[in-house]
Structures are given as structure tokens and as C-alpha cells.
Homo-oligomer: 430 residues x 2
């Protein structure tokens, strides 16, 4: 391939990810130029504050506070959207496409909420919108799903897609810390935001699993309908009980194609200790896929961070640059030609762990087991360990049962006079 | 993207992999057609014996024993080479390129030995030669390296790249079996060939790591110079000692870019129990990569088998079909623009485990430690456990030292009158 004119890019946003992209482009410039068939040059970067100190050295002439200096510049081939959030990112991406530019974005919220429409817009203009960095940072996932594994019918995805919560759960498990303590430490180390809601309530993971499910199952996913439940109620006692029963607790994002409908959700889960995701610790992410031809495949790495995310963005830039040189933009389009409804979590069958405090007196277990039996929820394990004053702690694990039956039984159990408190209920995933 | 005429493929070889490809193409035909922008049709299949019973149902009219019916057919767009071995596969691939066809191959030996020349030939004709299935079956690796991780300088690759030997080592570790027993069982289960040399001597893994190293380090790799050592000398005693010291024994394929030279090799290694590759068991494969931007990334899955390998071949077929429709074949070329020499294993610094039987008398450890010290090989751990008659078994683990120094010391130690036998020496990798 002959070397062509440099590909010019405009970057929107010079935060954590933007600086990572600039750094990767600089430090491996020669190899990147070779692979892309010519240099990839940063022509302009949109920032909010020209005067702000940056972790990377950038000639001030490259910076602008006016998005139009990028979107309206006919020399810019690729717009690299790294602002995050829906607006104004959405607006910029659509304008870039309308002006004939290619787009690379790391924006999970944008792609989860508006990906289908954006990819349709891209197809209309025969342009690329690549978004490898939107899910699990540097770990290759989107392209493997769209290309390498394209011959498979994907049945199931399970992933640890949020580094912050995985770090917190790992610390809680290793040191027996309370959630609030582990969260504060994660904040001090920069693993968690000052307002941690987005991570600890499972919203971040919900965006990511929605994107993966859409690609894997070839159907648009309404992210507002993805069930998500966070880790704020997990206690070190739950983690200790889970361990004794052979499980670890993870914030799990799962997606299943059940044929006529899909099941996409994020919640804490007890995972067997020998499960491939059980040993994914600290801020690492991992995704386990099951395809009808390939069987189980797992991808593991750093799901966030300036350089890992920069790695994914630059991989996309190189791929788009190749498409530009070959006149082949738009060659990997949106693949969602199905339209599968999403199953409500109430319709699903789940296994559940529950921990409760009950009066320490005869017949309590029999009473609770009776209610579970009447609701056709059968019991896999029950453990009573020690007493706290006149209360005993009992831990149950059920066999799979419809959520509605289980939740119905739970309401009745909570009303029993001998039940002091249902401390926690966590699903079990295998 | 409008639907185009079907892409026609000719398959060379209908063995294990060929049948898998046919099966994947059939069972997911509709989704594959959608992703590829139109159907992918098998026009003809080269076989050796028309009458042979096949695991897949194929219309007899598709089969031929004459390769020219595929290579010379102007309607065939992609030649899918699944014969294996160097000849006649090499000849067929080159002829296909000369006749303007695209090539997808699963042939590791061919790509390890002649990949550089074949990719140069492909570039001359502006054709694709895709070979995702050549390394680690269904696990996406080649494309992630060439595209997703293209912005990284890859420093290190370590992998479990041979399912047969990993299965044997897993059984030896789990059940304390001798190598020969575990091998026989693997043969009975179809995990090992009647002649297991290719797998158990590390040759298969050497081809695969040579291919990965060439792509990752952008340099041709002379596979005949890749050091390889098999697992035939590993005993259950070594595995047991390793376990007590906190290690597992794996057949490890490693490649390092040391800047001015590369280090590529395959040998058994003690790996710390908490190493990501330590828990890869049975016939599974996994590859751990380290890139300067992405950090550690791991890929895990089935490295062999009809359907997993078929999955990789079909992923390539879909990608090449997209290139054909967009007139963009040749868009991901060979990236080897460097030429780094390969370091000889004698020049490397390694840590070593050694197990020996010595006369059970005072001063033996001191004598051996003295020789190691004179050769500047320092000791990380030494364990003496029990006696066998008048012999004692001693296990050593050294700190990193030049292979030449260590091997020199080993020769001197073996000559000591108190040393009955040096039972095994295995490198340690972290």
C-alpha cells in the first residue's frame, strides 16, 4: 500500500481518555503510520478551558474552544469524540457524519442510548462510526464480536464490566471491609468518582452490556429497560457466607438470547469459585462469551484508564484510516436486523441467596421452608450459623424459580413474626 | 450496504476443520449473509477420496479430487485452504493469489514457515490472506493484534497454545499420572494423535508463537530458530514439587521484544499459581499480551476442534467478503517492516527449577551450592524431602542467571560423585 497524505483527526475532549489517545499516537507514531498506511495527525482538539494544565504537552495552537473549528474543517477526516455524556456529544457526532466525516468514539452512554440511530445515520452517509473503547476500555470486544466471531450464534454474555465496583468488592473480600470503607479508599486512589452513583448502582455496566448485547444478538436494546442493581447493600457478611458456600460475589452484567426474547441485566451475583470470572480481581474487567461454534471465549484486561482506553481508540483510528485509504468506509455496518423484545426480570427464573435474622426458636426453618415450598421455590442449601443475642442468622440458596414466585415468597417470609430482618437477597449465576 | 451476488468459495480439504467450516456456514447462513452483505456459498470442495463418509452432508456434485477445479474456476472468489502441512498447500495458496483469488487459511505450519513471502505475494496482487484460525483455533488473536491493539508496542506474549499438552499436564496434575499414561488417555479421547510428536515436543506451539511474534513485533521470525522443548520428561514428582513451592507446570510459549532482538521459545515452565495462565486447564488455550498502552490483556478459549476453528475461518470469510464488496482487499497488509535478530536461548537469562537425587550424606547441599555460587547462579529456594534408600531428593529454584552460566554449573554438578542423577531441569517464568 502506497503511503498517502496524512489522515487528519480532530479530537473532541482532552480529559483522561483524550490525553491517553494523544500519548499513544505520539509514542508509537512510526509504527502507527506504517500500519495505517500513512501518518495519523491530530489537527485540532476541542477543550473547555484553553488555560488548563494538561498531563500531555500540546502546542497551544492545536487547542480550540469552538467545536466548529473541527466539525466544519474540510481537512479533518476523522472526528474523535471523547467528551462523554449524551449532549453535546450526540449533536457533534451527527453533525460530523452529515459533513462526511468518520467518527471514533469512546462514549458508552451515547452508543447505548442512541447507537442504533447513529449507526443508521452512518450507513446513510456510508461512513464509519467505531466505538471499541466504549466497552471495557482496552480489551478488544466490539470488533471480535462484529468480525472474528461473526459466524457464531452468541447465546450468552457474562461480564465484569465495571472496574470501580470490582475493585471495591475485591477489597471487601480480601480485607473484610464494609462497602462504605472500601468505597472511600477507592475514591482516595482515584478508582471511584466523588459521586460514585454511576458506577456503584450498575449504570455504567448497564450501558456496556446493552451495547454488547445489541451486537451479539443483532437487535437494538432499549437501555432504559436494562435491569440494574448496584453493590451498595453487599456486606462483608454476605461475602464471607458466599465464600463458605463456594462462591464469590461480583457485579455481573449478563445477556442471554433466549430465541424469542433477550434477557439483559446487571446485578450483584454469587458466582461459583471455579467460574472463569470468579478470579477476575481489582480493577480488571473480563467478558465471557458463548457461541454455538466457538464455545466459551473469555477476554480479560484493563477496562478503564487513560492509556488502555487510548489503545482502543487508536486501534479504531488505524482501522478507519485504512478504510479511508481504500475508499471502504462503512464496510462494517450495524448488524441489528432483528428486533427481539426484552424480557422483564419478573418473568425470569433465578437462583437466589438470602440472608436473614430470625428469632432463635424451634420451628423457624420449617416455617420459612414451608412458605418457599408453597411458592414452588426449592432449596439448594441452608446454613444456620451462631446467634446474635436472641437472633440467629440463616443463609439460604434456592434452586432456580420464577422471580415472581420467589419475590412473593419473600414478602410472606418477611411478614412472619419470627423473622426479624431479611438482610440481603442476591441472585446466583453459574 | 446493498446485497450483492453471493460470494463463492472453494474449500481445499474436508477433514476436521473443513467439516467445521461447512457446518458453521450452514447453521448460521442467514446471519452470515446479513453480516457479509450477501450469501457466502461453497461452490466446490477438494477431497482426496470422493467415496469417504463425511461427518457433514455434502451434495456429491460439490466434491472434486482436482484442485484445478477450484483454483482455475473464475467464479470462485475465495480459496479456503484447510489441508494443513506445507505442500501442496503452499503451492495452492500461491496459485490462488496469482489467479486473483483471496485466501483464508487455517495452516499454522504454512504461515509460520512461509507467511512473510505469502503476504508479500498477496500485497503484490492486492489480495487478502487471512489466517485467524492458524493460531489458537476459535480465539480471536491475529485480528486483535493487527487491528485492535495496533496502537501498542507489544513487549511480551505468553501463551498456552497447545491443547493436547495442556490436557495431558492437567490430568497429570489432577491425578498424579505419569506422562505416558496421561498421553495414552489423551489419545483414546482423541485429544492426541497416534503420533503425538508434533504436539508433545512443542513444535505445534512453536509455529503458533512464531506467527504471533511476527505480527506483534513487526518482524519476520525464522521458525526454524525458535527454541522448542516438549513435556515428555515432566514427571508427577516435578508437578508435586512445583505445587508445594507455589507453581504449576505448563507448556509455555513466550515471545519478548527486547528492542534490538527478539526472544521466542517454547518449553515447559513453572508458573506461579496466581499467574493468569496458571488456571488455564484441560484442552483450553490462552494468550497473555502486554502492550505499552493497554497493559495486560488475556484471551482464552478453545484452541482447537472442528467448530471453534471453523468459527475463526468463517469470521475471516465474512471479513474478506466485506473487502471484496467494497473493493478493499489488501487493506490489512503484512506489518513486518522491521528485521530483528532472534536471540539464542544460550544468551538468555532464566530462572530454573532442578530436581536431583544425591547421596544422603553431609555436605552435599553445600557442595552443589558452592558450584552454583562460583557460576554466579544464586538460589531462590532449596528443599530436601525424604530419602529413597540411601538417596535424597533435592529441589532447587534459582534466581535469574545466564543460561550459559547455569548450564555450565549443571554440567559440573552432574559430575560430582555425590550426585546420583539430575532428574529434571525446568525453567521458571513469571
Amino acid at each position: 500500500m502506497a503511503e498517502h497524505r496524512p489522515i487528519q483527526i480532530g479530537i473532541l475532549g482532552l480529559g483522561n481518555v483524550g490525553s491517553g489517545v494523544v500519548r499513544v499516537l505520539e509514542s508509537n507514531a512510526e509504527a502507527i503510520a506504517h500500519k495505517a498506511g500513512g501518518p495519523i495527525q491530530v489537527k485540532r482538539i476541542l477543550v473547555r478551558d484553553l488555560a488548563k494544565a494538561r498531563p500531555v504537552e500540546i502546542p497551544p495552537s492545536l487547542l480550540t474552544t469552538d467545536a466548529q473549528e473541527i466539525l466544519a474543517d474540510p481537512e479533518i477526516d476523522i472526528v474523535c469524540e471523547l467528551i462523554g455524556g449524551v449532549e453535546p456529544a450526540h449533536h457533534y457526532v451527527v453533525e460530523a457524519l452529515e459533513r462526511g466525516k468518520q467518527v471514533v468514539t469512546a462514549n458508552k452512554e451515547l452508543m447505548a442510548r442512541h447507537g442504533h440511530a447513529i449507526l443508521a445515520e452512518a450507513a446513510r452517509h456510508r461512513r464509519d462510526v467505531y466505538f471499541e473503547a466504549a466497552v471495557a476500555g482496552g480489551i478488544p470486544l466490539i470488533r471480535p464480536l462484529k468480525v472474528d466471531l461473526a459466524g457464531n450464534r452468541i447465546a450468552r454474555i457474562s461480564g465484569i464490566l465495571n472496574g470501580t465496583t470490582n475493585y471495591i468488592l475485591t477489597r471487601m473480600a480480601a480485607e473484610g471491609k464494609e462497602f462504605s470503607v472500601a468505597l472511600r479508599e477507592a475514591q482516595e486512589l482515584g478508582y471511584a468518582e466523588a459521586d460514585p452513583t454511576y458506577d456503584v448502582e450498575g449504570l455504567d455496566a448497564a450501558y456496556k452490556i446493552a451495547i454488547l448485547a445489541a451486537i451479539a444478538f443483532q437487535t437494538p436494546v432499549d437501555v432504559t429497560r436494562v435491569y440494574h442493581e448496584g453493590i451498595t447493600r453487599i456486606s462483608p457478611r454476605d461475602i464471607a457466607h458466599a465464600r463458605e458456600l463456594g462462591y464469590v460475589i461480583k457485579l455481573l452484567a449478563t445477556a442471554r438470547d433466549e430465541g424469542s426474547a433477550i434477557d439483559v441485566r446487571v446485578h450483584p451475583a454469587l458466582v461459583p469459585q471455579n467460574h472463569p470470572l470468579a478470579s477476575v480481581n481489582d480493577a480488571f474487567n473480563a467478558v465471557l462469551l458463548n457461541g454455538d461454534a466457538v464455545g466459551d471465549v473469555m477476554f480479560y484486561g484493563r477496562g478503564a484508564g487513560s492509556l488502555p482506553t487510548g489503545s482502543a481508540v487508536v486501534g479504531d483510528l488505524i482501522d478507519v484510516a485504512r478504510n479511508i485509504r481504500f475508499g471502504a468506509t462503512g464496510r462494517v455496518p450495524c448488524v441489528c436486523n432483528r428486533n427481539k423484545p426484552m424480557r422483564d426480570i419478573a418473568e425470569l427464573s433465578t437462583e437466589n441467596y438470602m440472608r436473614m435474622l430470625v428469632k432463635d426458636q424451634p420451628g423457624v426453618i420449617a416455617g420459612i421452608a414451608g412458605i418457599l415450598g408453597e411458592s414452588r421455590v426449592s432449596i439448594d442449601a441452608v446454613v444456620q450459623k451462631g446467634t446474635q443475642g436472641d437472633l440467629a442468622e440463616i443463609v439460604w440458596i434456592t434452586h432456580p424459580a420464577p422471580e415472581s414466585s420467589f419475590r412473593g415468597a419473600l414478602t410472606r417470609i418477611a411478614q412472619l413474626p419470627v423473622v426479624h430482618e431479611i438482610c440481603n437477597v442476591i441472585r446466583v449465576e453459574r
